[in-house]
Structures are given as structure tokens and as C-alpha cells.
């Protein structure tokens, strides 16, 4: 049964297209592998917290004063500082903070006095949705462009694709965002200018936090349409450098695989040209691309900061900028930790997908 569910469906010889489902993996070994990787995440996370904590406390500014109000007396300010535990020695503050984290409490934001974890988790899906769909778009377009360029090697299409990818890495995304806004929402009026959803239309019920998926789950096509429209421009802007990177790596990956012997054998025994390239050659050259997807995920979280500001996207990028501007210590630390954890998990997922693609690695797990 496991083979059927997870294993590769044994190809029947009818004309039906067979589908490669995720190949079977020993269940026990996978769980053990993930546990080991998660444990290895802890030391780098601890380093991360230490680094950010030191950086933030090295600064003279003190948000409590502005919180205490215009003519708050020094005593009032001191009393507030005590309440937030900011008067204790730094090492003690750090110790308390780490202990709290272990209990899942990232502390309260100094301004809204609400748990930072709650605020971040409220805004996290917006950024994750933006980045995930940007990566999906980038993977789809990047891999297609890269493969076409490699197949028509040194031909006109190859040169065009190379020119486009090099430019994609050179363009400032915030500049493109501004231009897209001007053209598509102000002049052509096709796409909404800002925000994640339309005010007038009731948002789909919160299930995954991803508006596109939630609206599909709620079978609400209009909501899906609205969410898709709002997502379009930020997604495309964020995807541009990712498309360029993925196309370049796919191209060199496919070029390398085309040299391999099994490609000659495959064409000698009559594989269809398209299937040979798009299934058999591509799957072999994807391992490099998947590594890039992991790295890109981290880079895009940073890149999203400017995009979220321009398109008024309520993600953690704009939350982080706000927190930094107002020296909301706990909020900045909270964002850093959450991004660190996401980055770690994404790398683990990348390695697991990598094993699926390249069976020889499976023995390693």
C-alpha cells in the first residue's frame, strides 16, 4: 500500500500518462533525519539571538521615554523602565529572555504591550504567501527559460535568455515596483495598487492564512480573483531576481546533463525528444536548482522589506522596519528568531526534496 501511495506508480503500458509521486522513503529514517537536523538548528539560533541582542542594546536610544509621554518626569520614566525589566544588568536580561523563549514567550512589544509572537504570527502568512508564490512563479518560469536556453544552446533564444537573466539580477526591484505601479494600476487600471485584499469584499475564512488557498478552500472564486490581483505585482517584482538565478542554474545544470551517456542511449532507443528533455534530463539537473530555492527563500524575506513598503503589504518585512525604527527590542528579536527558524526549516525541506530527486542520496538518509 505504501508503495502505491508514496511509491512510484508502476507504469502501465496503456497510453495513460504515468505520474511520479514522491518516491517511497523509509518512514523511520526520515523522522530521525529531521530530528537530527532540527537539533543542529539550535546552536545557530542561539548565536542569532545573542548577536541581535548585543546589537540592540548597544544603542543609546530608549523607547520608554517617548512612551511615557511629553512631560513625563524622570522618575516616571525610571518606573516604566523597571516594569519592562530594562534596568537590570544586560546579562541578566539576556538570561531571562532566553528562558522565556524556551517557553515560547517572545516577550511583549513595548508599544502595544501585546505578545510579540502573536503579532508576528498574525503578519507572517502575508509574507510567506508572497514569497512562496514568488518562488513558485520563479521556479516555473526560470526552469522553463533555463531549459529552453540550454536545449537551443548558443542559438538566438539562448542569447536572449542570458541577456534577460543577467539584466534580471541587475535591476533594482524597488525601482521596478514603482514603474509597475505607475503602468498597471494608475495608467492601465488593471491591477489594484496596494494591500492584500479588497475592503468591500468579505475575506475568506482563515484556514492556512494564505488568501489564495483559503479562498479556493472556501470555493469563493471572486475572493480568489481579488487575492490573485492584489498578489500579482508584488509577486512578479519579488520574483524577477529569483527567475534570473533559477534560469541560470537550470541552464548550466541541463547543459551538463545533456553531455551524459544516458541521454545518447535514451535518444538511441527512441525516447520522444520533449519527454527526454522535460522529464528525464530536467529531473537530473534540478538538484542544483533546489539548493538555490532554499537560499533564495532567505534572500527573498530580506528583499520583501522594500516591496512590502511600496505595495503596503502587511507582512513581517514592514513589521520589522517599524520595530527597528522604534527600537521595540522584543519585536526585533522576535522577528529575527522567527526568520531564523523559518530559514532553518526551509533548508531541511530543501534537503529532503533533494533526496527525492536524486535517489542515490537516499541511502545517506
Amino acid at each position: 500500500m505504501a508503495t502505491f501511495l508514496f511509491g512510484e506508480r508502476w507504469p502501465c503500458f496503456s497510453r495513460l500518462r504515468d505520474v511520479t509521486v514522491l518516491p517511497d522513503l523509509g518512514y523511520g529514517s526520515m523522522v530521525r533525519y529531521i530530528a537530527v537536523r532540527l537539533l543542529s538548528l539550535i546552536p545557530s539560533l542561539f548565536g542569532l539571538i545573542l548577536l541581535t541582542f548585543i546589537m540592540l542594546h548597544a544603542v543609546p536610544a530608549d523607547p520608554v521615554t517617548s512612551l511615557a509621554g511629553e512631560n513625563a518626569s524622570p522618575e516616571q520614566v525610571a518606573e516604566l523602565r523597571a516594569r519592562f525589566g530594562l534596568d537590570k544588568p544586560l546579562v541578566e536580561q539576556f538570561g531571562i529572555y532566553v528562558w522565556q523563549i524556551l517557553q515560547g514567550d517572545l516577550g511583549n512589544s513595548i508599544f502595544s504591550n501585546r505578545p510579540v509572537l502573536e503579532e508576528i504570527l498574525a503578519r507572517l502568512p502575508a509574507t510567506l504567501e508572497l514569497i512562496t508564490f514568488a518562488l513558485v512563479l520563479a521556479a516555473f518560469v526560470g526552469i522553463t527559460l533555463g531549459t529552453i536556453a540550454a536545449v537551443r544552446h548558443n542559438g538566438p533564444i539562448d542569447n536572449i535568455v542570458r541577456a534577460v537573466t543577467i539584466s534580471g539580477l541587475a535591476i533594482a526591484t524597488f525601482w521596478v515596483a514603482i514603474i509597475l505601479q505607475m503602468v498597471f494600476s494608475m495608467e492601465l487600471n488593471w491591477l489594484p495598487l496596494r494591500g492584500r485584499f479588497d475592503v468591500a469584499y468579505p475575506a475568506p475564512p482563515l484556514i492556512t492564512g494564505f488568501l489564495l488557498i483559503d479562498s479556493l478552500l472556501a470555493l469563493d472564486l471572486t475572493a480568489f480573483g481579488i487575492a490573485a490581483q492584489h498578489l500579482a505585482m508584488p509577486m512578479i517584482t519579488l520574483a524577477i531576481p529569483a527567475i534570473a538565478t533559477i534560469a541560470r542554474f537550470t541552464r548550466s545544470g541541463v547543459l551538463e546533463t545533456m553531455q551524459k551517456e544516458f541521454v545518447d542511449y535514451a535518444s538511441a532507443v527512441g525516447y520522444r525528444r520533449n519527454r527526454l528533455i522535460w522529464i528525464y534530463v530536467l529531473k537530473n539537473s534540478l538538484s542544483v536548482v533546489i539548493m538555490q530555492l532554499g537560499l533564495l527563500f532567505g534572500a527573498l524575506i530580506g528583499g520583501a522589506v522594500a516591496i512590502e513598503a511600496i505595495f503596503d503589504w502587511p507582512g513581517i518585512g514592514s513589521y520589522a522596519v517599524n520595530a527597528i525604527l522604534n527600537f521595540d527590542y522584543k519585536a526585533v528579536l522576535g522577528v529575527t528568531i522567527i526568520i531564523g527558524i523559518i530559514y532553518g526549516i526551509v533548508n531541511i525541506i530543501v534537503d529532503i526534496i533533494h533526496a527525492f530527486v536524486d535517489p542515490r542520496l537516499r541511502e545517506g538518509i
Binding site: 536610544a61 511629553e70 512589544s109 472564486l221 520533449n274 503596503d312
Partner: protein
């Protein structure tokens, strides 16, 4: 080739869905009012003391008194009437009958007492106004409709500070108090008020989204507005340019209160939006640290006062959307001497003053810094204009962009306070005390408002007398004398009194502006059909 066909077909489907969505979206239910005012990080009216929280105080809560109209008049709101004892220490307020909170419970004097005590005990922003004036234990309920306050010292502007205290519902708050936080964590995302609009906690997301629903049995009734707004959606737009573009496109109905002047022409030209211009009470000034050489020398301060191109900035850069404000009290308020016209932009006079200062040994060769508020473009433009004028006088100036938390914290002590920085002082309560009183009285040193560290015993005497005096005409005389001295000392460089600029879409009707709350009062607003 088959592969490429697949790609094109999937993209086509996505576009189709997009278009389908857009067609239906436009016919969606009648669009609610979308207000792009910036949201405060917390909805608790007793926790913050800045412009964004005023939108919540005006719409979700009520106070004993409230400012209405422009120029603002203090009118009784929850309170019916008030009496003051002869020595000005005991104040009694009588509240109207039949007042209801959002949860339906009746409002009594005890709730008023609870609200004042909560605000004072929390010791956050708004409580600073009552420092040394009112203690929590001196607020008592005489009967279920009368509250008595006993002040520590006579405080003339006490009545004008009443709108700062929102009356909250103890029954809702006490249930959610967590380890002595006065229920602040819960109230930061909920509503315990009695105001014309209720907060919808389900859809509230901090700094991102707040939906308000009309409270039908608000005590002031709704006959003043035939088609009141059932729903108001507050959607702050972080980026100023995106905010204006959203207005032009009709995605939002109103921008925030700080509309950049460059955008005014563009909105006026557009066919679906306009700019409402209302003179408010908000002074824009260059603050000089009078304790830090060379600014401790009056001639240096006068030299700089003559070196700023007031008309160039007000008329050209800000396109005449502001009025020259010669001194520390905003135009239109009482207490301003009639004969003072303000320092003129005159480089010869400036040079003469600087030479006098050099003669007295002031060190004018050192490069000094102008600190600006990076995210507020106007402060940067003013600083750059000032810098190019001062370099003509041979003075070396460096512009340092900063942020509000950094500068307001540094302003607490004379040695860390910036030597020259630029900001606004807004209306929190309509009384000269809010400006000249709290800016130049040495007892307020340590607050950013008094970060000029101006020290003149005679001015202290005048201001303290004015604070205690109950008769407004006598207070006006005292403030005028103090005003003349401070002006002659050129303690700061007062530039203009703001005209409040807010972009509004053409379908908005009934927008009424008052300096306190800067016009975000949804009670009176309705939509043209």
C-alpha cells in the same frame, strides 16, 4: 512545443480568474468608508498621547468635554455642567442622564472616577498633563451622576484638558486584567467605550486593519446626520506616495493628516479626489539648545533667526499652504501680542548679529548639526534650505537624519539634547499652556517640549502665574509679557502654523475639522450616492 502550450494555457486560466474577480469586485456591496489614517500600536486611550490615538478617542470613546469646530470651542459632552471652587482647587462635574456603554450598561460617576484613576495610575502618555496637579485618590464620586476633583495646585487649563481623558467601562476591563496590567493587553485590541462607533475585534490587526461599526444608541443621537456610515474601515497605508496614488485610484477615501504639500496640486487636478485645507494649531519650529554653546549666546540665536528663508519655504516649497507664525503661540489662539511680526530673512542683519556674537567670543567656526525626522520629508527639506543659507554666512552645518524615539529620548538632558533640530508641536489641549507654558517653563526641563532649556526667572514667574490665574483676560496679559521676552531672546526659530491638508475622495460629505483629532470624526460623515 507541447510544453509551451501547457504554460500558456495555465497562465490564461490565472488571468481569467483575475479578470473574473475584478468584474465582480466592482459590483461588491456598497464600498464602506476607507480611512487611511495611521493606526496607533494600541487602542487603549490611556496608553498613548499622540495624533493616531486621537482618532480612537474621538470615535470609540467619549470624554466629559470635547473640542468641536475650528477655531476649536470646548463644549460639554458627557458632562452637563461643572462648578469650580473660588480657590480653583475643587472642580465638580455633573454627567448627563441615560448614558450607555457599548455593552449596554449604564455609565455612572463611578465609571468616570475609575477612568481618571486608571489613566493616572498607568502613568503613561496622557497622565503627564496632570503631573503635580491631580492625584488618583483625589477623584471621588459624590453621587451616581456627580464627580469631584481636588487639585494639588490651582491649574487654569484643567477644564481644557478634560477631552484628554476617555471614559472607559470598568465592567469590561476588570474581567481581563492580567497580573496588574490594568487590562492594557486586552484593551489594546478591544473596545470598552461608549463612543459613536464600536470596534470589531475579530478583524482587528495591529497597525494593519481596524473596522468600526456604528453604535446606534450613542447618547448624542444621529439626527444631525441623515445617512451615517454603518461601517468605517481604517486601513493605514505606510508609504506616503502609495497612499496618494491609492486616493487618486479610489481605493481609499481619505489620506492621513500629514499630506505632503507637493501632492496637493496633483490631487486637486484629479477628477475623483480633493484636498480639504483647514488652519489648525500646530507650530513648525527649529529648536535651539540654549544651554549648548554657541547657542547660549542670544546674538547667535538672532543671527540664525534672520538666516532662515521663511517666505521661500512657506510660499514656494510648501506652496502657500502654511501661515507664517512669528512666535511660540499658534495664530488664532489668544495671548499673542499684536505688535510682533516675526524675524525677517535678512542675511545682512544675520551677519551683523553673528559678528556681535564673535566679538563676545562665541565659537562660530565649529561645524554644528541639524537633526531631522527622516521619515517626515518636510523636516529634511527645511534643514537642506537652512543649510544652504547658513553656508552663505560661512557657517558649517551637517544634516543628520534621525527618528522620533532617538531624538525625543536624547532631548531629556541638556548635554545629550541635539543642538538644533526641527519638529512640530501639535494641539493636545487648546490653551497657551500647551505651547508657551510647557515649552519655556524651567519646571518642564527634561521633556522634549522644553528641550530648548530656556532659563529666564522672570518668564518662569509670568508663566506660573498665568497657569494659576482663572480669569482668561488676566492670563492673556501674562502670556503676552512672557511672549515678548522669549521673542526678544530668540529662544527658538518659529516658522509656520500648519494648515491641515487631508486628501478626500469626492464621495465624502460632512467632513468636519477640529485641531484635536485633526478631523477624523466619523459621526458627521456620509457618502454622496
Amino acid at each position: 512545443m507541447r510544453r509551451i502550450m501547457q504554460i500558456i494555457s495555465t497562465l490564461a486560466i490565472v488571468c481569467y480568474i483575475g479578470l473574473a474577480g475584478s468584474l465582480t469586485a466592482t459590483h461588491a456591496a456598497e464600498r464602506p468608508l476607507v480611512w487611511a489614517e495611521s493606526l496607533p500600536p494600541t487602542l487603549d486611550p490611556h496608553a498613548r498621547f499622540d495624533v493616531p490615538i486621537q482618532t480612537i478617542m474621538v470615535n470609540v470613546y467619549d470624554a466629559l468635554y470635547r473640542y468641536t469646530g475650528n477655531p476649536p470651542k470646548l463644549v460639554p459632552w458627557l458632562a452637563e455642567s461643572h462648578t469650580t471652587s473660588d480657590d480653583g482647587l475643587t472642580w465638580e462635574f455633573r454627567i448627563k442622564p441615560g448614558l450607555k456603554f457599548h455593552d449596554g450598561s449604564d455609565m455612572t460617576a463611578a465609571d468616570v472616577v475609575y477612568s481618571f484613576q486608571r489613566l493616572l495610575k498607568m502613568g503613561k502618555g496622557p497622565s503627564s498633563v496632570f503631573r503635580g496637579v491631580l492625584l488618583p485618590e483625589n477623584v471621588k464620586a459624590v453621587d451616581d451622576r456627580t464627580v469631584r476633583f481636588k487639585l494639588e495646585a490651582p491649574y487654569a487649563p484643567f477644564l481644557s484638558t478634560m477631552p484628554l481623558v476617555s471614559i472607559v467601562n470598568p465592567r469590561q476591563i476588570e474581567k481581563h486584567v492580567k497580573d496588574g496590567d490594568f487590562g492594557e493587553a486586552w484593551l489594546s485590541a478591544n473596545d470598552a467605550g461608549s463612543g459613536p462607533y464600536k470596534v470589531n475585534p475579530e478583524t482587528y490587526q495591529q497597525r494593519v486593519r481596524l473596522d468600526l461599526v456604528r453604535f446606534k444608541d450613542h447618547f448624542m443621537g444621529w439626527d444631525h446626520n441623515s445617512k451615517p456610515m454603518e461601517n468605517v474601515s481604517l486601513r493605514p497605508v505606510q508609504d506616503p506616495s502609495t497612499r496618494v496614488l491609492a486616493l487618486l485610484r479610489g481605493e481609499i477615501d481619505a489620506t492621513g493628516a500629514y499630506l505632503p504639500t507637493d501632492q496637493v496640486e496633483r490631487i486637486d487636478k484629479s477628477k475623483n479626489a480633493n484636498v480639504s485645507r483647514d488652519e489648525t494649531m500646530r507650530i513648525f519650529l527649529f529648536r535651539m539648545n540654549n544651554k549648548k554653546p554657541p547657542f547660549d549666546n542670544v546674538h547667535v540665536r538672532r543671527c540664525l533667526s534672520h538666516a532662515f528663508d521663511y517666505d521661500g519655504f512657506n510660499k514656494i516649497v510648501l506652496k502657500g499652504f502654511v501661515e507664517r507664525n512669528p512666535g511660540p503661540i499658534p495664530n488664532g489662539l489668544w495671548g499673542i501680542p499684536e505688535d510682533i511680526k516675526g524675524y525677517t530673512y535678512d542675511l545682512e542683519k544675520a551677519k551683523a548679529e553673528c559678528d556681535k556674537a564673535r566679538a563676545q567670543g562665541a565659537d562660530l567656526d565649529r561645524e554644528f548639526e541639524i537633526h531631522t525626522l527622516a521619515e517626515l520629508e518636510q523636516t529634511v527639506q527645511a534643514a537642506q534650505l537652512f543649510q544652504s543659507a547658513l553656508t552663505k554666512l560661512g557657517l558649517k552645518v551637517r544634516i543628520v537624519p534621525g527618528t522620533w524615539p532617538v531624538l525625543s529620548a536624547a532631548a531629556a538632558k541638556p548635554d545629550t539634547a541635539p543642538e538644533l533640530w526641527v519638529f512640530w508641536i501639535s494641539t493636545y489641549f487648546v490653551d497657551p499652556e500647551n505651547w508657551i507654558g510647557q515649552m519655556y517653563d524651567t519646571s518642564f526641563h527634561g521633556t522634549w517640549k522644553a528641550s530648548a532649556f530656556y532659563d529666564n526667572p522672570e518668564v518662569d514667574k509670568l508663566l506660573r502665574a498665568a497657569r494659576r490665574e482663572t480669569d482668561q483676560s488676566k492670563r492673556a496679559e501674562l502670556y503676552k509679557q512672557a511672549y515678548r521676552i522669549i521673542y526678544k531672546d530668540a529662544a527658538d526659530i518659529w516658522i509656520y502654523n500648519t494648515i491641515q491638508l487631508r486628501g478626500l475622495s469626492n464621495r465624502v460629505k460632512g467632513y468636519q475639522f477640529t485641531p484635536v483629532g485633526s478631523g477624523s470624526d466619523f459621526r458627521s460623515i456620509s457618502l454622496k450616492d
